[in-house]
C-alpha cells in the first residue's frame, strides 16, 4: 500500500506492506544504501537511522512506524553535531572497512545532540549497540571527544 514518508526533509511515497522492515524500504524502495544491513536482529547497529531525531535500528521497525514522522538517514545528516562528527571522523581517520560507520556516525550524532560533552561512560553506554569488526572503537571514542570539543568551541 502507498505510504508517504518524510525522508531527509523531502516527502517520498513508497508502495510497501506496512510491516516491511524500515531498513528494506530505505535501501530498496528509496535507494538510500548508506544505511547498512548487518544482522537484522538489532545486535550490530549498522542500520541506525534517526526518527524524529532519535536513533532507531531500522531493521527492527516496520515502515509504518515512520509514517508522519521525520526520518533521517546518513545521507541526510545536516545538524551542527552531525557536521562536527563527520569532520572528526575524517580528521582522525576513523574508518577502516566502513561497513559499520554510517551506523556509528548516526548513533554518535544522536548522542552529541543530547549530550554535547559526553564522558567516556556516556560514550560507552550510548555506543554499546554499534559493533565494529575492524575494532576502530578507540578512534570512534576519540572522534566523539573531538567532535564534542568542536561543538563547545
Amino acid at each position: 500500500m502507498p505510504i508517504t514518508l518524510n525522508v531527509n526533509g523531502a516527502a517520498r511515497e513508497v508502495d510497501a506492506d506496512p510491516d516491511t522492515p524500515l531498513l528494506w524500504v530505505v535501501r530498496e524502495d528509496l535507494g538510500l544504501t548508506g544505511t547498512k544491513y548487518g544482522c537484522g536482529i538489532a545486535q550490530c547497529g549498522a542500520c541506525t537511522v534517526h526518527l524524529d531525531g532519535a536513533p532507531l535500528r531500522s531493521c527492527s521497525a516496520p515502515v509504518s512506524a515512520a509514517a508522519g514522522r521525520k526520518l533521517t538517514t546518513i545521507e541526510g545528516l545536516s545538524s551542527r553535531a552531525a557536521k562536527a562528527v563527520q569532520k572528526a571522523w575524517v580528521e582522525l581517520d576513523v574508518v577502516q572497512c566502513g561497513y559499520c560507520q554510517s551506523g556509528q556516525i548516526m548513533q554518535a550524532t544522536a548522542l552529541l545532540e543530547r549530550n554535547a560533552r559526553p564522558s567516556d561512560r556516556d560514550i560507552d553506554q550510548a555506543m554499546a549497540g554499534n559493533i565494529c569488526r575492524c575494532a576502530t572503537y578507540q578512534r570512534i571514542r576519540a572522534a566523539i571527544h573531538a567532535a564534542s570539543k568542536q561543538l563547545s568551541a
Partner: protein
C-alpha cells in the same frame, strides 16, 4: 570393536542423546504452564497458610523470565529464558527508559516485531531499582511488593490492579517470537493476587 570404532559409536550416541534432549527441552518449553484458580486452595484450612500458598502460585508468574528480565538487580536487564545479560549492553538510565544516548526505543518498538524477533510494547522500560526481583526469594519479593516505600507507593489494591490490568505486565503473556509466555493468563494472576489479598496477604518464608 577397535578403539576408533568405539569412539565413533559413542560420539554418535552422544549426538543422538543431545539431539533428543534438545527436542524434549523444546517440547517442554512449548507447553504453556498452567495456573491454578484460587478455588484450588480452599481446602487449606489455615488462613495464613492458604494465603501463602496463593502467593506461591502467583509466584510462578512473578518469577518467570518474562517478568524477572525487566526487574533486574542492578542497572542491566537480562533477556531470554535463561536470563543472560541483555545484548547489547544497555542500562536502566535515569528513569528506566535507557541511557540518554541509547533508549529502549532505539530497538524496542510499540509491538513485537517478527522480522527481527525483537519484542516490543509502547511502554517498554525497566522496573525501578527498588522493585528488583532477581536474586530475591519469593518471600523477599512478597515483602517488597507490600512495602509502599519500595513499590511506588501502591496500596495492595493498586498492586492487584497493576498485576491484573497493566498493559506492559500484560505483554508477558504475548511475548511474540520464540519466547514462552508467562504462566496462565493475566486474568488468572489478577484473581490469585486478589485472593491472596483477601486472605490476609501473608508472605512465604524469606
Amino acid at each position: 570393536m577397535r578403539a576408533a570404532q568405539r569412539s565413533d559409536v559413542s560420539t554418535g550416541l552422544r549426538s543422538v542423546s543431545m539431539a533428543w534432549s534438545l527436542f524434549m527441552a523444546g517440547v517442554a518449553a512449548a507447553q504453556p504452564v498452567a495456573l491454578q484458580a484460587p478455588g484450588a486452595f480452599d481446602a487449606i484450612q489455615d488462613r495464613q497458610e492458604r494465603s501463602r500458598a496463593l502467593f506461591v502460585e502467583a509466584g510462578k508468574v512473578l518469577q518467570s523470565p518474562r517478568c524477572l528480565n525487566c526487574h533486574p538487580k542492578g542497572d542491566r536487564p537480562t533477556q531470554g529464558a535463561d536470563m543472560h545479560p541483555h545484548e547489547p549492553w544497555v542500562v536502566r538510565g535515569a528513569d528506566g527508559h535507557g541511557a540518554s544516548g541509547l533508549q529502549c526505543t532505539t530497538c524496542h518498538q510499540a509491538a513485537n516485531f517478527g522480522p527481527s524477533n525483537v519484542p516490543g510494547h509502547a511502554m517498554w522500560h525497566l522496573a525501578p531499582a527498588s522493585m528488583a526481583w532477581q536474586q530475591q526469594s519469593l518471600g523477599q519479593i512478597c515483602v517488597q511488593l507490600k512495602d509502599r516505600r519500595r513499590n511506588g507507593g501502591k496500596t495492595l489494591a493498586q498492586i492487584q490492579a497493576h498485576m491484573a490490568r497493566d498493559e506492559l505486565v500484560g505483554w508477558g503473556w504475548s511475548p511474540g517470537g520464540d519466547r514462552a509466555p508467562a504462566p496462565g493468563t493475566q486474568e488468572q494472576l489478577g484473581a490469585l493476587v486478589q485472593a491472596w489479598i483477601d486472605s490476609g496477604a501473608a508472605c512465604p518464608a524469606p
